[in-house]
């Protein structure tokens, strides 16, 4: 027995079978219930845990169809259109779902019908029914009005009007109902009676294509799993090739026999459908998982779905060396991204500013698009580099006296050459508070090492010593 605070009163939010047989009902104040049965065992409701549990159940249900939607706080809607025959027909499928959940210790009620509304109503009052298409009206008619899940005011109004079942309401003229309860009520009624359809909104994005494989005996071996992935990739590749498409994102869903579900996705820089590449990328990804794939007692279903696809022309001929090179680089980038994460394999792009640390950006190489800006050298021809090869993300404060010494990392360097200043003004339009301009100097020490230093805030004023920073080191 679970209670929660509703409208400033503790009310029952869930009751078990025994409690309901003793006359307790959801929504009853706890004080009333206590008065009826002083020996009640009461627990506080934990809504976040309920939501999590429902999501886990939804994960489990994913094995029947990828279109699973959450329905209120304790309901799930499964769109099984075109999937029932895979599980031995609608009745068998419904029984399997109910039995499967029951075996996991849940009290479950379910029904299968042409519309979500009808199924919802039937699940509550006629557990386990399967309604043939077009029979919704007949099946729903004898149910009480409460089955429509209307707001209490409307339910009460129907009762007062003497309409006790859905069938009686359906028997009235549409115009009458619309006039009394609004057009929405007519629409609800239509849905319940199977006269109109309403799409469900799956909780996960709908994959474009998917292939799956069921196993009579759960599989555990890593090699088997890889082989299955490869054969699924090959099957998916056929479909994609027929449509002239390639996948940018693939998701493998592993359904464990005990109900746990694991999803692992890989991303590709370019549309891909080559099974060998897909298998290789998954291998990289699975190898690199911080939390490895745990088969437990084995997986009884593996599904491979393409959740993002793009048009792809058929593979370029291998003779074309240039294009092939690009493809190979892209594959390498995908591989490294699968293993280390796409934020770790980077490419450089110009950024069109003269601020030294912002003059370029690093972007994930997988998603890098050719930049409109071009790289522009700062040095003139035959001139030495004017920007250092290595730069510090945070300029390091140093002690510097021009033409004398430089102290960095507690090491004293003798300065033999000093060139500058090169004044770089900050972009005033970017900062709210004006940033001081920087005077950059190129400094060489006695051993030939070259540093890039700057003085912040221009020349010294009022006797204050300017602060020097080391921003980079030249080759």
């Amino acid at each position: 027995m679970v209670v929660a605070k509703v409208d400033n009163a503790l009310r029952l939010s869930a009751v078990d079978r025994k409690a309901s047989s003793l006359g307790l009902a959801i929504g009853q104040p706890l004080a009333n219930a206590r008065a009826m049965l002083p020996a009640l065992k009461v627990m506080a409701a934990n809504e976040p845990a309920d939501v999590k549990l429902l999501a886990r159940i939804a994960d489990w249900c994913d094995r029947f169809t990828p279109f699973v939607a959450l329905d209120g706080p304790r309901g799930l809607l499964l769109d099984v259109t075109g999937a029932a025959h895979l599980f031995g027909g609608e009745q068998t499928m419904l029984d399997r779902i109910r039995e499967g959940l029951h075996a996991q210790g849940f009290a479950v009620r379910g029904a299968l019908a042409g519309t979500a509304m009808a199924a919802r109503a039937l699940a509550r009052y006629r557990d386990g029914t399967v309604i043939a298409p077009g029979e919704e009206a007949k099946a729903v008619a004898p149910l009480p009005i409460a089955a429509l899940n209307l707001d209490p005011v409307a339910t009460h109004a129907f009762r007062r009007a003497g309409l006790k079942t859905v069938g009686q309401v359906a028997g009235r003229k549409r115009a009458e109902i619309a006039a009394r309860f609004g057009a929405a009520m007519v629409a609800t009624l239509d849905l319940a009676l199977g006269r109109a359809e309403e799409p469900i909104s799956p909780r996960l994005p709908r994959p474009d294509y998917w292939k799956e494989q069921n196993f009579a005996e759960p599989i555990v071996m890593e090699e088997t799993i890889r082989a299955v992935l490869k054969s699924l990739a090959a099957a998916l590749s056929d479909v994609l090739e027929r449509r002239g498409e390639g996948a940018r994102r693939l998701e493998a869903v592993f359904f464990r026999a005990d109900g746990a579900v694991r999803r692992i996705a890989i991303e590709m820089g370019a549309p891909t459908r080559e099974p060998a590449i897909v298998e290789r990328l998954f291998r990289e990804k699975l190898d690199a998982l911080a939390d490895p794939l745990d088969p437990g007692f084995g997986f009884d279903l593996i599904r491979l779905s393409a959740s993002r696809t793009e048009r792809a022309c058929s593979e370029a001929a291998d003779l074309d060396g240039g294009a092939n090179g690009e493809t190979e680089i892209r594959f390498l980038v995908d591989r490294l991204a699968a293993r280390f994460g796409s934020h770790r394999i980077l490419s450089f792009q110009p950024n069109g500013t003269h601020i030294p640390e912002a003059a370029w950006v690093v972007v994930p190489a997988q998603y890098a698009q050719p930049s409109k800006l071009s790289w522009e050298k700062i040095r003139g021809i035959r001139e030495a580099p004017r920007r250092p090869l290595r730069m510090f993300v945070r300029p390091e404060p140093v002690d510097f006296v021009a033409m004398l010494h430089l102290r960095w990392h507690r090491v004293q360097h003798v300065v033999t050459k000093c060139e500058g200043p090169e004044r770089i003004a900050m972009e005033w339009w970017r900062h709210r508070t004006p940033q001081p301009a920087r005077d950059y100097f190129r400094v060489e020490d006695g051993e030939g090492r070259r540093y890039w230093l700057y003085r912040s805030g221009g020349v010294e004023r009022d006797g204050a010593t300017p602060q020097w920073f080391l921003h980079g080191v030249f080759a």
């Binding site: 090179g325 280390f340 394999i345 370029w360 690093v362 030495a384 090869l389 290595r390 993300v393 080759a475």
Partner: protein, 259 residues
């Protein structure tokens, strides 16, 4: 039967065209190229050790070599997070100023040496890459003779060249083709012009030739190494006729580099 099998295996081992692939790329510096029998071997592992405090110079030397070898192909630069904090992040504009095309550079950031070596071995199987540079600070245990041999084999397979850029480490047993000790050299003593990058390089290991010691200048415009434009530093040509002396000198100079 057995002889036949052996013969078949031999044929499969000696792949046709292997000789043509493993060409040598001249550095541009005449004396060094002579010592290297024409240049740096492609599809092999080369080690570059930075003298303490000369990490940026070694970075430049490695970048120059990688650019020579890769020509117009992509270069993959593998760096560890620690290395970027300690010695500075590789700068795209810096590379551009140095003469490299940043658009042909891929940067892989890894957490440790094990990841770096693993990624390198994988990347070396991509024939479209020109060179792979692996920056390794310190002396990780994982980088041993076996690891370097593995890299060498991976290099040879698709003829991609690998450069191990070592910071703060002493040379150890390895399967590398060449080993360089690098430090910065003073630029020519002309006041008005800030010179090109100059390196004092020590070739302490050369599997197919003698060691040597040269001061090289990197020509950022033409992308090659050359003698410093004005001889400020001491240029020591490789004593080609005295192998023992050269070897001794190599060891000597190696010692000078050690902290």
């Amino acid at each position: 039967m057995r002889a036949e099998k052996l013969a078949a295996l031999r044929v499969s081992l000696v792949r046709p065209g292997l000789e043509e692939i493993s060409t040598r790329i001249p550095l541009g510096h005449a004396a060094a190229d002579l010592c290297l029998k024409g240049g740096l071997e492609r599809g092999a592992l080369h080690e570059i050790f930075a003298a303490i405090g000369h990490e940026a110079a070694a970075t430049g030397f490695a970048a120059g070599l990688a650019m020579r070898v890769a020509a117009r192909k992509h270069v993959l630069w593998i760096r560890q997070d620690f290395s970027a904090l300690e010695f500075g992040e590789l700068s795209a504009v810096g590379l551009l100023e140095f003469g490299l095309d940043p658009a042909r550079m891929l940067l892989l950031c890894v957490a440790d040496a094990a990841d770096g070596l693993r990624a390198a071995t994988d990347a070396l199987s991509c024939a479209a890459l020109g060179a792979v540079v692996i920056e390794i600070p310190g002396k990780p245990k994982i980088l041993d003779l076996v690891a370097s041999r593995r890299l060498t084999l991976a290099c040879a397979q698709k003829s991609v060249t690998a450069f191990l850029l070592r910071f703060g480490a002493k040379p150890d047993a390895s399967a590398a083709e060449t080993r360089w000790l690098v430090r910065a050299a003073s630029s020519p003593a002309r006041e008005e012009n800030w010179g090109h990058p100059v390196f004092e390089t020590d070739l302490v290991r050369n599997r197919h030739g003698r060691p040597g010691h040269w001061v090289m200048e990197w020509n950022c415009d033409d992308g090659l190494f050359q003698n410093p434009t004005t001889n400020s530093g001491v240029v020591v040509p490789a004593p080609s006729d005295r192998p023992a002396a050269a070897a001794r000198e190599g060891v000597e100079s190696a010692r000078r580099f050690m902290p």
